[in-house]
Symmetry: C2
Subunit: 233 residues, 2 copies
């Protein structure tokens, strides 16, 4: 594939250093790209090095996305002269829940081609492995960390599941897993299905799905401080 | 990674024969797997051959998922003796909008480990490249093919976008692209953003995002019979 003056969306591993979770095509194109807009420069350099980029890291053009829109737009101008620009997120797929979406929106306005490459997404992996409805699903980001709001939100999500069969996906910061699981068990109907996808794409990966009534028998301490994706269906 | 008696979810290319869109890890594990449950045996064999599986195809155990639940459960029994079983969909990621979810649900009930591998998903690629909200999104599958119902559904999706900022994703069979695009332009607000991701992960890939008022100036004939994912935001 010969590309000129395009925005290339390069996923990076969600499990640190796990380059084998990347697609072959993304690595091939990464090797040919020398100009990047990234969520965090330090981790992006580390990642680019890990895939054995043929250009010395110091010779790459790397801009970290900040609030300075003028700086970003100036940096992106080389695209009009045929240079491809890669976008790299902190982890996973750029454009999904990260500042990369801003670069993509700019490209569409400017009539620049945007090309997404295959790579790891904890949301998609969790959905695949949940056994819940994949024909109709919603990702809700983070829910509230205040108990009354969280209870209301969980109840509203459960109503959506009951009415339309739409799987409801959400996240929580790892140190609050105990809080959110406990609130799920207190709030949701015994027959509602809950899937917890923990440490996705790592050797400690643990993905389970069962009804709330069955979860009540499980020791929850094992989820402490491990990154999890939650799905109800 | 040493795995025994697990369900392995192997994505396959969404663009025929494009093995470079697969993850390195998935191919490595596919080469070690000889028992498969698949959506369609013919395409699965073709795919397994395309990734240069070291075992002759005729020696692999392959079961096509049918309505015969007894046959499926009998076939899956070898997992209790330590055999890994791969699940392969017709295209893309198993478990998302395909019968693979049934096998995954069975595994969770039986306490069998389920491991998803990274691979192509047209829904996720379309979302990444849309520049629309990736913190909050819903996939709605296919909408109605009857105009009055479609209009009502599109209006309801637009209300969701306006109320919560949730990106709304849906599909249509390629020969009805003209019908659905025309109905979007007639129904949605001029300021609503529409992204059309066409021929994803192929050399003809064309992903655009603009407001309805801008789409009204585009020649729509070019989308005829090409597979598209639609996003409004």
């Amino acid at each position: 594939m010969i590309l000129k003056g395009s925005i290339l969306l390069f996923p990076c591993p969600i499990s640190e250093g796990k380059t084998e979770s990347l697609s072959i095509e993304a690595i091939q194109l990464l090797h040919k790209t020398t100009t990047f807009v990234v969520e965090r420069a330090k981790t992006a350099r580390h990642f680019i090095k890990s895939i054995q980029h043929p250009t010395p890291i110091a010779q790459l053009q790397i801009l970290e996305i900040s609030d300075n829109k003028k700086e970003l737009e100036d940096f992106l101008q080389v695209i009009h002269h045929g240079t491809n620009i890669g976008v790299i997120s902190e982890a996973g797929c750029p454009g999904v829940a990260d500042p990369g979406a801003e670069v993509v929106a700019w490209a569409h306005k400017a009539g620049i081609r945007v090309i997404p490459f295959v790579g790891p997404s904890s949301i998609l992996l969790a959905l695949m492995a949940s056994g819940l409805n994949g024909q109709n699903f919603a990702f809700n980001g983070y829910l509230s960390n205040k108990k009354p709001e969280l209870i209301n939100h969980l109840k509203a999500l459960e109503v959506k599941v009951q009415k339309s069969g739409q799987t409801q996906i959400f996240m929580e910061t790892p140190y609050r897993n105990g809080f959110i699981i406990e609130t799920c068990l207190q709030t949701l109907n015994d027959q509602t299905r809950l899937s917890i996808a923990c440490d996705i794409n790592t050797p400690m990966e643990d993905i389970r799905q069962m009804r709330i009534v069955e979860w009540k028998k499980v020791k929850m301490g094992e989820y402490h401080k491990r990154p999890c994706i939650y799905l109800i269906g």
